[in-house]
């Protein structure tokens, strides 16, 4: 015990650990009315770490070569001890990451936490959403199955609709006229090096902005629910008399992560094939197109929109406009009120938007 204290003191006088703990953990106060939705950010961070760890483990056996990719994944699933589990953790985790990310964004929307001065938090979050979609799309090709091959063929082919640069863009994305070994090489590099580094950097920026602006106060259970920031000078939103991050909110975070894990394990161990159609287990064959190729569930709405519009370019433009509107929301919605029930127009638009997205997703699934 004495030795431990001596060691602690030795570190303390050198790095000032107590002060750091006081400032960043026990003395870091959060709003008293903070709720469980605020812990989704920590859940996402946990999922990202799990994805990186399982991804590194998969890299030990995965071979990014069109001739060997499918058999290497099959080897991981069938012969490597616990390989199936690592692969399922990674594949199911990628879907869960998108799901939790969407929930996190919806909670930020309803609590008005995207409003100034948090525009940069929102923008970095939105960029993270698109990068997570990008890393999922590039990862989809790597098993080199029928699903991988044809989903990527169709996805990259859609870029053809962009005037002038479309065909060049398709060739650039594929590394050739058709999806092939070069596409696999490109997507592999993007999936394991470029996008993860970009995501890690953006997570850092997102957390930096969070630390600098302070945690937003939820509008629920408050008398005053308007945005107090005047925009005249930098101000960190403090919460005197709030609850400490450690141990109180960290336990809330841990509870949310445990609930997430229960759900995650339930999918991995009971129905890991929830996200895999049977074409995901057939080696890629450029000469045989499977009858029904559908994108991942989170792209089904985009897929259905393209089917609805007679002109592919219009379909793409509508989606581009919707995405741009969402990205720039903090600059468009400049009202001070944060409580959703006091913002009927916002509430109606958001609920209708979510219902339309859900309806398009279901329609895309059954169409």
């Amino acid at each position: 015990m004495n030795l431990l204290k001596k060691l602690f003191d030795w570190i303390e006088v050198r790095v000032g650990a107590s002060e750091l703990v006081e400032k960043q953990l026990t003395g870091y106060l959060l709003p008293r009315n903070i709720n469980a939705w605020y812990s989704l950010g920590s859940v996402l961070l946990f999922i990202f770490v799990l994805q990186v760890v399982t991804g590194i483990l998969l890299l030990i056996y995965y071979v990014p070569d069109a001739e060997k990719a499918y058999s290497s994944v099959s080897h991981i699933m069938n012969n490597v001890p616990y390989g199936w589990m690592i692969r399922m953790f990674h594949a199911v985790g990628s879907n869960m990451m998108v799901l939790v990310l969407l929930l996190h964004m919806i909670s930020v929307l309803f609590m008005g936490s995207y409003k100034k001065p948090r525009e940069l938090n929102w923008l970095t979050g939105f960029m993270l959403l698109t990068l997570v979609q990008g890393i999922s799309l590039t990862g989809y090709l790597l098993p080199w199955s029928q699903l991988s091959f044809w989903a990527t063929t169709v996805a990259t082919n859609s870029a053809n609709a962009i005037p002038v640069i479309g065909p060049h863009l398709v060739e650039f994305l594929r590394g050739g006229k058709l999806v092939g070994a070069h596409t696999l090489g490109r997507f592999f590099a993007l999936h394991v090096a470029v996008i993860p580094v970009a995501i890690a950097g953006l997570i850092g920026a997102h957390l930096f902005f969070l630390k600098r602006t302070g945690v937003s106060t939820p509008p629920f259970g408050q008398k005053e629910t308007g945005n107090q920031w005047q925009g005249d000078s930098y101000r960190h939103e403090d919460h005197p008399g709030g609850i400490p991050f450690f141990p109180n909110f960290m336990l809330e975070d841990l509870r949310s992560i445990s609930i997430y894990l229960a759900l995650f394990f339930a999918v991995v161990f009971f129905n890991p094939y929830l996200f895999f159609p049977s074409s995901a287990f057939v080696p890629a064959n450029p000469y045989v197109t499977p009858a029904h190729i559908k994108p991942e569930w989170y792209f089904l709405a985009n897929y259905q929109i393209l089917k609805i519009f007679p002109n592919e370019l219009i379909g793409l433009a509508v989606q581009g406009a919707a995405m741009t509107f969402l990205a720039l929301l903090p600059f468009i919605d400049r009202g001070k009120e944060k409580h959703p029930l006091k913002r009927p127009l916002f509430l109606a638009c958001t609920v209708i938007g979510l219902l339309v997205w859900l309806a398009l997703t279901v329609w895309g699934h059954y169409s």
């Binding site: 990068l131 859609s158 841990l254 161990f269 792209f299």
Partner: protein, 270 residues
Amino acid sequence: MLAWFFSGAFLIGVVLFQPIPAVSAETTDTVCYECHGNMPGTLGEPVKLWRSSIHAENGISCHSCHGGDSKDMANAMSRDRGFLGVPKEKDIPAFCGRCHVGVLKDFKASAHGRALGKGGPTCVSCHGNHHVLKASLELINEKSCSRCHSYDRAKVIKTAMQDTEKLIVDIEGRIAAYKKIGADIDRLEKGLFAVRNHFHSLFHNVDVEKVKKEASQIQSDLKKLEETLAKMDRTQQRRKIAGVVTVAVALLAALLFHLLGKTFKHEKDV
């Protein structure tokens, strides 16, 4: 930066999947059904029949049997390019036997084979010529057999083979289910293929005693496949048990963190 990002977002999040037409294995490069597919009567009928055959299912196209150049419309039916046309009745077994070598041998040695050219049946009598049916016990039936002779003897053979056939169908279904989830079933598939071929060769033998004797050997081979599948079932079961444990541990941890959180909240409020 923003413009770049929105371009990226536009491409990744928006430029996405388009519906694509369903194309099956039948799109193997062949010009045959470009003409015959639209022809009336006996010239077009084979294409329609073939589409729902076991041959179409396995990617065996017109030229695989009839020869010719399937990529050159002008010379598709040229004898110089190996076009064989329609075989004469007595040549049918040899025509089919170019691929089904073992079956041809069994057929020739059987009562059916010995009656070839003397009013006996050929392959197409039972299997059909273009709507080629998958070999199964269903092909042995009173309607079909009694076209030529009494059904009694065929019935005895069918009864002797029924249990084995049932076992094969059952194992085939279980292997297909594992295939759908990416399990390594290569050896199982090859094993079943070999056993089924052996079994189906008995179909052509039409020798009751031989069928009874070999059926027991085949059943023992099938049992080995069943054992492998049972082992795979047990692995799946173990995974589910591990799932119960991990989900329970995660939920317990959630409860523990919840109660601990309440304790700290209570202490602070006090």
